[in-house]
């Protein structure tokens, strides 16, 4: 983990190989909850990316300072701090979005992906790799949310980021509560199919943790 090539691999890993949503199947709640539009998905992704990167950096810096016996409460506390920060900032500067997804922002603290990266990666690595892992994983999460958002908003409302593209609403159900589950299942299955068909992989998303 000391040369640029492996940093790149580490970065890519979060986006493709171990995409938090589609591959690791972690933190699914926000993936379904806020993606009825591209914009919400994007902002949620940014919030998660921020919390994830900051938590990874903090945990990595403090890894010799925190006693292993109390590491989980410490990690949760660090995550909660950064979530509070982003929650307060968003409630002040992004009012419209905050009204719609305020509850989900607060719930970032309970996202399994953040705690699991802190525990599995940041607590064992130095600052730079942890930072890159946080950005990579966060970006993978962001891309997954945007992909879902595009899929659902385009089919459900015929718009993208609020801009009208289709005159009609082809598949209204996609932005309804149930549509999130369908979109998620279809995209996950589709990615598995692509993986099996073209890359000879076995497909991911076998089990959720």
């Amino acid at each position: 983990m000391s040369n640029p090539v492996s940093y790149w691999t580490l970065f890519k890993n979060g986006i493709f190989g171990e995409n938090p949503v589609f591959r690791l199947a972690l933190s699914l709640c926000p993936a379904v909850a806020v993606t009825s539009g591209v914009k919400n998905g994007f902002l949620m992704g940014v919030a998660v990316m921020f919390v994830m990167t900051m938590t990874n950096v903090t945990v990595s810096l403090l890894r010799n300072f925190i006693n292993p016996k109390v590491r989980i409460p410490s990690y949760v506390f660090i995550t909660a701090t950064w979530v509070t920060v982003i929650d307060l900032v968003m409630s002040a500067y992004q009012r419209a979005v905050y009204k719609e997804m305020g509850l989900y922002i607060m719930l970032i603290v309970a996202f399994a992906i953040i705690l699991s990266r802190a525990e599995m990666f940041a607590s064992k690595n130095t600052l730079l790799p942890s930072f890159i892992d946080g950005v990579g994983m966060g970006l993978g999460f962001l891309l997954a949310l945007v992909l879902l958002g595009v899929f659902r908003e385009f089919l459900g409302k015929g718009t993208l980021w609020g801009a009208h593209i289709l005159p009609a609403k082809p598949l209204l159900i996609m932005i309804m509560p149930t549509g999130g589950f369908f979109a998620m299942g279809l995209i996950m299955g589709g990615l598995n199919w692509i993986d099996r068909r073209f890359f000879g992989g076995t497909g991911g998303g076998g089990g959720a943790h």
Partner: protein
Amino acid sequence: MKDILKITLPLVVIFVVAGIIMSVTYQHTYPVRFQAEKKEKEEALKEMAPDATDPIKPAGNWTVNNKPYEYYAATSGRKPVAYIAETAGKGYSSFIRMLVSLGPDLKIRDVKILGHEETPGLGDQVEDKSFLDQFKGKTLAQIVLVKKETKENIQAISGATYSSRGVTNGVKDAAQQLIDTYGAGIKKAAREVRK
């Protein structure tokens, strides 16, 4: 004993530092948030009566669905130009909150949806301009929801009948309240002018 200290000391340090970070952020964002909330409300009211030159101030409280709401009188050079009430109506899965404004002629001027938790894709169509514009210029007696094409009344959105009814009821209650409060005064004023 030494062990306990070794474990808890770092924890305490983390708690204190985190507490400081959070308080500082709170102190910086709180005024911004407070101002933004205030501005949002003022802008929403202003939108209901763009011709009001004086600041719109609450004129009193009224109750609908067991919850208190405010109503306002918008004036321009002390002359009333609109009466505005915040109101809510029971939709399909939530209360739809809105602002209703009446002109001095006591006809509906405008309706604005403030918030709701109706089904996305179906119930949220009550926010569409084409639905809300139906209310404009109607008298209280005309605010009746029908399920067919209409010019006189309010046409329900197909697939969102309950949500449409929620909005219609909310508007009706607010208009009734405003007419009860201001109607007599206006009639009196009109009579005095005729004399």
